[in-house]
């Protein structure tokens, strides 16, 4: 039985990788999946820990999925890393693909403990009170952290890579093919031969089913891809370099598995041939093959498979096997790690990007005229710490409207989703992003609620609006507005568009359709961002605005040039 474990493990790895890819693909309209499409992220105990600790609240949907993985680790150690983790599988696959013959990666355990320091630094970022929940709620119980888990969590990292780099590439390839096939169907040859034409139809239909109708573009896609490549490429120095040295999730699960009753036992048949030592992709077996490190073993069972003497077996509860569970952490490094965590909170917070405007509610960042969050987003302080930058919301966004923030919102908001209306609007009949956010940084919302989830406010640049400045017959913004927030006002006999600021929710469709190139003459700014209000308050505002329509308050441009 023991000898078949390696084969089983490989099947498991491929199964979970396939599931990961499939669920990623299923994160699209219409959202039809028997299990949550973000289940890998929800089941990630590090993400759950990060969201709950840094928000100081219990998030039940996260607990349900993360707990089983943690329990699994309590009993079986880091089997998640060896059998389930799609990042681990990607690393294994890439190692096989890019292996250099005759070159043996190092087994030296030099960087081994680094991952524990990474974990400690991340826990510090969750714990340190980085901000008050809101200006109105001062006091230590009302603080939130500024978790940096997004930077190192493997599942978030892989999902992000798939979204920002994989999706646009795949989409581009499919669309190129589809467009080429489409152009064939208009050639004289095909037009004259109906059979050829009919043969092309299923190809076109098939490709259309796979592709979205528009191209997909993301900012930061190169950065996401480079991060992934770096993680994989480290395997050149040591197999599973990332997993053995850097991964904080691996560290967490390793800690959880310290008391695991399932162990490897080496019988007296061992001749000390060192094959297991050299095979172990985690470098978990010491020079003396009888000894191995518990928190390092990912249960891949390759040692069992390569042992010529069949001396290694899986046993339960034999406390006399030579497993060491010590971490051997250095106190000085521990302090450095904590210091690094502290710096990871303080630096973004003291950066100018996090600075607030002087408005009474102080919810707007100076850097964020264009920080338009998706609907359902928590108030900014909570949002930046809850968001793991996995990119699920950007993947699922049908309009390619959601993009990773770069400068908007400062360093603390790097990679968090914002709506970039010129790339795509937040269309009314859609509630997908709220449905796929693993940490509830975007709380679920209904399509009806979108009429009063205030993300920002549109304003018209009258100096470039062709209706205002050039007397053109254009009210495309008014046409497209889903919420009736734009109306026409006759000035000098010509109808011109005006914005109802309390009805406009900042969905950005006006900016998207505006024929003024390249920026659009109507633009959405964060001035109307009312995430810090409850949904009931926002609904009331909308109701009031509906009752007393003021078409004269007509949205002059707030930030010309942006």
């Amino acid at each position: 039985m023991s000898r078949r474990l390696r084969g089983l493990r490989r099947v498991s790895q491929l199964f979970f990788l396939a599931a990961f890819v499939l669920l990623f693909a299923l994160a699209a309209f219409p959202l039809r999946s028997p299990i949550p499409v973000d289940i890998f992220l929800r089941g990630d105990p590090l993400i759950a820990l990060s969201a709950m600790v840094s928000l100081r609240k219990l998030i039940v949907p996260l607990v349900w999925y993360a707990l089983p993985v943690l329990v699994l680790s309590l009993f079986l150690g880091r089997v998640f890393c060896g059998w389930i983790c799609p990042m681990g599988t990607m690393i294994d696959i890439c190692e096989r693909l890019f292996r250099v013959k005759g070159r043996r990666p190092s087994q030296a355990p030099r960087w081994r403990t680094a991952k524990f320091y990474v974990l400690i630094a991340l826990v510090v970022t969750m714990l340190v009170p980085a901000a008050h929940r809101s200006a109105a709620e001062l006091g230590l119980t009302q603080t939130v952290g500024l978790s940096a888990v997004y930077a190192m969590d493997p599942i978030a990292l892989l999902t992000r890579t798939f979204t920002l780099a994989g999706l646009p590439a795949a989409q581009w390839a499919v669309q190129m093919t589809r467009d080429t096939v489409t152009s064939w169907s208009y050639t004289p040859v095909v037009e004259e031969h109906p059979t050829l034409d009919r043969a092309l139809i299923p190809v076109q239909t098939g490709l259309s089913l796979v592709a979205r109708d528009g191209p997909v573009h993301f900012r930061l896609s190169l950065l996401a891809f480079a991060t992934f490549v770096a993680v994989v490429a480290l395997g050149r120095y040591a197999r599973r370099f990332w997993c053995r040295n850097l991964c904080p999730l691996g560290a967490l699960l390793g800690l959880a598995g310290k008391a695991s009753p399932v162990r490897l036992a080496v019988s007296a048949k061992c001749t000390g041939c060192m094959r297991c030592v050299n095979e172990c992709k985690m470098g978990a077996i010491s020079e003396d093959p009888h000894q191995y490190s518990g928190p390092e073993c990912i249960g891949c069972y390759s040692c069992i498979a390569v042992c010529p003497e069949k001396a290694i077996s899986v046993t339960i509860g034999h406390l006399d096997t030579d497993r060491t569970d010590e971490l051997q952490l250095d106190r000085r490094r521990l302090l450095s790690a904590a210091g690094a965590g502290l710096a990871a909170v303080v630096l973004p917070k003291v950066g100018w990007g996090a600075m607030r405007t002087q408005a009474t509610e102080k919810v707007l960042k100076v850097s964020s005229a264009r920080l338009i969050r998706p609907p359902g987003a928590l108030a900014e302080e909570e949002f930046v710490t809850a968001c793991v930058r996995c990119g699920e919301c950007m993947k699922v966004c049908q309009m390619n409207a959601l993009q990773p923030a770069f400068g908007e919102g400062g360093l603390e908001a790097l990679g968090t989703p914002i709506i970039v209306p010129r790339m795509g609007p937040c269309i009314q009949p859609c509630d997908l992003c709220g449905a796929v956010c693993p940490t509830r940084a975007l709380e679920p919302f209904t399509m009806e609620e979108k009429s009063h989830l205030y993300l920002g406010t549109a304003s018209i640049d009258r100096s470039s609006c062709i209706a205002w400045a050039a007397d053109r017959q254009c009210l495309v913004c008014d046409e497209a507005c889903s919420y009736d927030a734009i109306s026409q006002k006759e000035v000098e006999g010509i109808p011109r568009p005006v914005v109802h600021e309390d009805i406009c929710v900042g969905c950005g469709i006006c900016e998207w359709v505006c024929p003024v190139e390249p920026l659009g003459a109507i633009r959405v700014y964060s001035s109307g961002d009312r995430r810090h209000w409850t949904r009931a308050e926002q609904r009331e505002l909308r109701q009031r605005a509906e009752d007393e329509r003021q078409p004269e308050s007509d949205g002059q441009l707030l930030y010309p040039g942006l």
Binding site: D179, S183, Y186, P194, I427, R472, D478, S482
Partner: protein
């Protein structure tokens, strides 16, 4: 040199030829632009009322001579409903799916080789739009190929002779490829153009609509309508949008009317009255009329009520 070498600029010639053929077969005037419009007899339109949507279409098309007059066996048919917005059918921002389905069915019945339903939408992604408007699954079920034309690969540049502003435009390739082009607009008021009926609906067959807004919208619509002549217009007024058009949400009214005709302006002129307007007040219709696209004076239009 094969005839296929003359692709683009023959767009219009082809359309005219199709129109001529139809006229020859039917004896109905109205497709030859100026001469037809000036004809003393005036164009004929059919107005069907007091029935279910499918029966309305059937009756109106029958009154225009039956589908067989327009769609020959083996013909390629292109149907252009309004699928511009992500709205439900009852919001009357998009063509009633039952109307579209009935036309697809009629074409299939007449022996059409291929029936395509397409639009260049303004709003939202294809999958959502086709589902929300109800047109996607329904028309597919009736045997049509339904898709939204967002890819630039589906367009080709066409020069518009006789145009005043819009000298050339990227138009759907399928317009050239199809033997029969049926325009199926819905009657709505429109913020920029007053009303949106058949002529305005044609805007959904071009790639860059923004250019029209940047130059002169009414004239562009007229220029395009002069060149792109549908073989048949079936105006859906089963439900009309009376306020906050073209997307709504606004006040809708169940009119229970379908208008069919071959003179695009005669149909639009009648459609305008359903929205409480006169064609003479609508910029793009008067401009199209001035260019000889068709008749907007309803006094000179023969209206068959069925």
């Amino acid at each position: 040199m094969s005839k296929h070498d003359m692709t683009r600029r023959d767009f219009i010639r082809r359309a005219l030829r199709a129109g001529l053929a139809t006229c020859a077969l039917s004896g109905v005037d109205g497709l030859l632009g100026e001469q037809a419009a000036a004809a003393a007899s005036g164009p004929t339109i059919a107005v069907a009322s007091r029935k279910g949507p499918a029966e309305l279409v059937g009756a109106a098309v029958e009154a225009m001579g039956g589908i067989g007059k327009f769609v020959k066996r083996g013909a390629r048919v292109l149907i252009k409903p309004n699928i511009a917005w992500a709205r439900k059918p009852e919001q009357a921002a998009t063509t009633n799916p039952e109307v579209v389905v009935e036309i697809v069915r009629l074409c299939k019945q007449a022996g059409a080789r291929e029936v395509k339903v397409t639009d260049h939408s303004v709003d939202g992604p294809e999958a959502l739009l086709l589902r929300m408007t109800g047109i996607g699954p329904a028309a597919q079920g009736a045997g049509a190929r339904v898709s939204l034309a967002s890819s630039p690969a589906l367009y080709e540049r066409v020069n518009l002779r006789g145009a005043k502003v819009l000298k050339s435009v990227e138009a759907l390739r399928d317009l050239r490829r199809a033997d029969v082009f049926i325009n199926v607009p819905i009657a709505k008021v429109h913020s920029a153009t007053g009303v949106t009926l058949g002529c305005k609906n044609l805007m959904g067959t071009v790639l860059d609509r923004g250019a029209w807004h940047r130059s002169n919208l009414d004239q562009c619509i007229a220029d395009y309508a002069k060149e792109l002549r549908p073989n048949l217009v079936v105006l859906d007024a089963t439900r009309v949008l009376l306020t906050n058009g073209p997307k709504g949400p606004g006040r809708t009214e169940a009119k229970g009317i379908v208008v069919a005709g071959t003179d695009p302006l005669a149909v639009d002129a009648y459609g305008a009255t359903l929205l409480g307007r006169q064609a003479q007040q609508v910029g793009h219709l008067t401009r199209a009329h001035d260019m000889g696209v068709g008749e907007i004076d309803l006094e000179r239009v023969k209206v068959k009520h069925v």
